[in-house]
């Protein structure tokens, strides 16, 4: 059951990801990306991480992508124009990237075949997540993220505002 769901949503994710980069219309790209993100959320849930799954939807799909859409609407972005003169270079880049992808996949296969600790007790409940996140090991990093968010907030306002 889980496996079927996994492969189904993996397929959706990949397809939508392809749409993201193939679409010339950025709004469609954005919606395709939302689909990818939501499928990934499902996959996170299948991997036993309900908290991360919820976060994925809240933060990525709910916040970040809305922001993208907002900006797209604000700037009224339409289709990307064709640039014929860039064609050749891009084909070259495409070939190079295909090679790189092969290499990355090779790395992936190594990772996949690498040893794993067999079937440890895995408990990713929110309580456990909170325990790990607020342990001394991560606490300062966690606090630092709040500063980061604040800085980003102020920075975004300053950058995007017409005049201060």
């Amino acid at each position: 059951m889980d496996a079927i769901l996994f492969y189904a949503f993996a397929a959706i994710a990949v397809l939508a990801a392809v749409v993201v980069i193939a679409q010339r219309n950025p709004i469609y790209s954005a919606f395709a990306l939302v689909v990818t993100l939501c499928s990934l959320a499902v996959i996170f849930g299948l991997l036993g991480s309900p908290f991360i799954a919820a976060l994925q939807v809240i933060v990525y799909a709910g916040a970040i992508m809305v922001l993208f859409l907002f900006v797209l609407m604000l700037l009224n972005v339409r289709r990307e124009e064709e640039h014929p003169e860039a064609r050749g270079g891009r084909t070259l880049a495409g070939i190079g990237l295909a090679l790189v992808t092969l290499l990355v996949l090779q790395a992936g296969s190594v990772l996949v075949r690498s040893e794993r600790s067999p079937s440890l007790e895995f408990d990713a409940s929110t309580t456990r997540m909170a325990e790990v996140l607020f342990s001394p090991h991560f606490l300062y990093a966690f606090e630092a993220t709040s500063i980061l968010i604040l800085a980003a907030l102020v920075g975004a306002v300053v950058l995007a505002k017409k005049e201060l």
Binding site: I21, S49, I52, L67, E80, V104, A156, A160
Partner: protein, 103 residues
């Protein structure tokens, strides 16, 4: 609890998503699309983290995902603010139009 057999394939999926994202960064000229592709790459990485976390039975990977998300949120907000500022200056979103730093 035995881990599902598809966990290694989640790693593969993450690599595929990452590659697609990278490809998008190179193919697309629209700044916003490029930013979205970067989000896609980050998500690939996140998936890898979660999968590793699952396969090693520790939560550190998930915590990292949490941090990645925070950073991604910050990056997206600042990045989009920059995009708006750029658009105001040049009235275009073509990535190739921004080459002020040319040496």
């Amino acid at each position: 609890m035995d881990q599902p057999a598809f966990v290694p394939h989640a790693v593969l999926l993450s690599l595929i998503l990452f590659s697609i994202g990278t490809l998008g960064v190179f193919l697309r000229r629209n700044v916003i699309t490029v930013l979205m592709c970067i989000e896609l790459m980050l998500n690939g990485v996140n998936l890898a983290f979660v999968a590793f976390s699952r396969s090693w039975g520790t939560l550190d990977g998930q915590v990292l995902v949490f941090f990645v998300m925070v950073v991604a949120a910050a990056e997206a907000s600042v990045g989009l603010a920059i995009v708006i500022a750029l658009h105001r200056h040049k009235d275009t979103l073509d990535l190739d139009a921004f080459d002020l730093m040319k040496g």
